[in-house]
Amino acid sequence: MTQLAEKLEYLQYPFVRYALLVGVLIALCSSLLGVTLVLKRFSFIGDGLSHVAFGAMAIAAIMKLTNDMPVVLLITVISAVLLLRTGQRAKIKGDAALAMISVGSLAIGYLLMNVFSKSANLSGDVCTTLFGSTSILTLNKTEVLACAVLSVAVIIVFILFYNKIFAVTFDENFARATGIKAGAYNLIIAVVVAVIIVLAMNLVGSLLISALVIFPALSAMRVFKSFRSVTICSAVLSVICALAGIVCSVITGTPVGSTIVAVDIAAFALFTLAGKISGGKRI
């Protein structure tokens, strides 16, 4: 017990508070578009883009940029737009294009890091980028601020376009027939997803981002039956899981990213069970 109290004293340190704040914001953002991505059958876009972000990070590292976020953000946004565009009509079909880009950037990223990096602990660096191990605990004030601003922007965009995103997700043809510029909204979705990925890299690392995007949405869909309740539930669930995961990892000394994902998986199991038991009860 005293040990636990001792551990909770970590909260005094600003870096732990930063981590909690950033963790909550990122978890909130990443769950918002999860529902749309799952329903549009785009679950893997997050995964592909996170690999692109890894490659971009390697390039930024070689260029010895102290703040790599703008470069990574730019490259990821461009890739997101290209991926969603080519998904519509292309010689190489959507999933193949995605696989190509994601594996390609993973390989190139690692290659570049290997060839150019002067770091003594290369595999440690790579591991951190892929699994996010401790990076969330080493954020400085500027990075926290950037994270906060981007997260709030994502949330505002989502709320403003909520009804249009619903219309485009549920029935794109009907939406287009009634004059909604579905292409423009798909573009907005792509850009927002890219921003979320770059943000979430700090929290869970690039290999685990998809989990943050899809698990809360899938869990919420087991139990809730309307778009609004699913969206709200997945946001709340995602925040709770992120908090629980961060606290757990601080106390037990496990890596932040994988602990959060483990909590997400546990929540998914719980919700699946709850959905089975309530079986079609309408909430």
Binding site: F170, D171, A175, T178, G179, F227
Partner: protein, 235 residues
């Protein structure tokens, strides 16, 4: 006054023409059925009327105060929709999007419109319930209510009874007939069911190898020429 005029339309994909030189007019209060063999371009024609595809040649124009984005569209169901978590209310309300412009949230007028159309189709009880838990017939009525929110004048129905059992099919046809006769809504319907088309529609457009456009009576007289259209399988 013609609500919809298609003149010298040429339709197809990637430069390959499926239908050429197609002209017809739809007037206020018409009930038009579009029939034809599989692959004759019925769905392409429908998408062109809605502005989702652009024609290879010719033009689609709307008149009589109807804008192209104010045509109520009842599409065929997609796989995505079958397990979509959305309430009946959310879906019907989304039909009001074409009145929204850049306003992000629905106002009182939109909510009242959605309520009215749900009442008209007997959906009020189901308002808060989940769309994917309903039967095929109920789902079609939900989508029809959404289409009604998008239009005051014209409905475009893409195979509205496909996959429904005979009893529900008959109910659906009655609902559509009532909308046409009582509310004066112009109906354009794609159908495989020639018999129903001849019973309910007053105009027929047959596309395919031979093209026919005229009243249902005239079509019956020339029916021998179009027998190949009978009993076509679902697209």
């Amino acid at each position: 006054m013609a609500l919809l005029t298609c003149s010298n339309l040429s339709l197809g994909y990637e430069g390959k023409e499926i239908i050429g030189n197609l002209s017809f007019e739809v007037n206020e209060g018409d009930y038009l059925c579009i029939v034809g063999e599989n692959g004759s371009g019925k769905s392409t024609l429908m998408k062109t009327i809605l502005g989702l595809n652009s024609p290879l040649g010719g033009s689609v124009t709307t008149g009589g105060g109807l804008k192209q984005t104010e045509i109520g569209y009842l599409p065929q169901q997609t796989d995505v929709q079958r397990d979509f978590p959305a309430s009946v209310w959310e879906i019907v309300l989304s039909g009001c999007q074409n009145r929204q412009g850049f306003r992000p949230f629905y106002g009182k007028a939109e909510k009242a419109l959605a309520k009215m159309n749900m009442e008209k189709l007997g959906l009020t009880q189901l308002s808060g319930r989940c769309y994917r838990e309903h039967s095929g017939g109920q789902q079609q009525r939900v989508l029809l209510a959404r289409a009604l929110c998008a239009t005051q004048k014209m409905l475009l129905l893409d195979e509205p009874v496909s996959g429904l059992d005979p009893k529900v099919t008959a109910e659906m046809y009655e609902i559509i007939k009532e909308l046409n006769e009582k509310d004066g809504i112009t109906i354009i319907m794609i159908s495989h069911d020639i018999e129903a088309a001849l019973t309910y529609a007053d105009k027929i457009l047959h596309i395919g190898k031979s093209v026919f456009f005229g009243s249902a009576e005239e079509y019956k007289k020339t029916a021998g020429a179009f027998t190949s259209a009978k009993g076509g399988a679902r697209e």
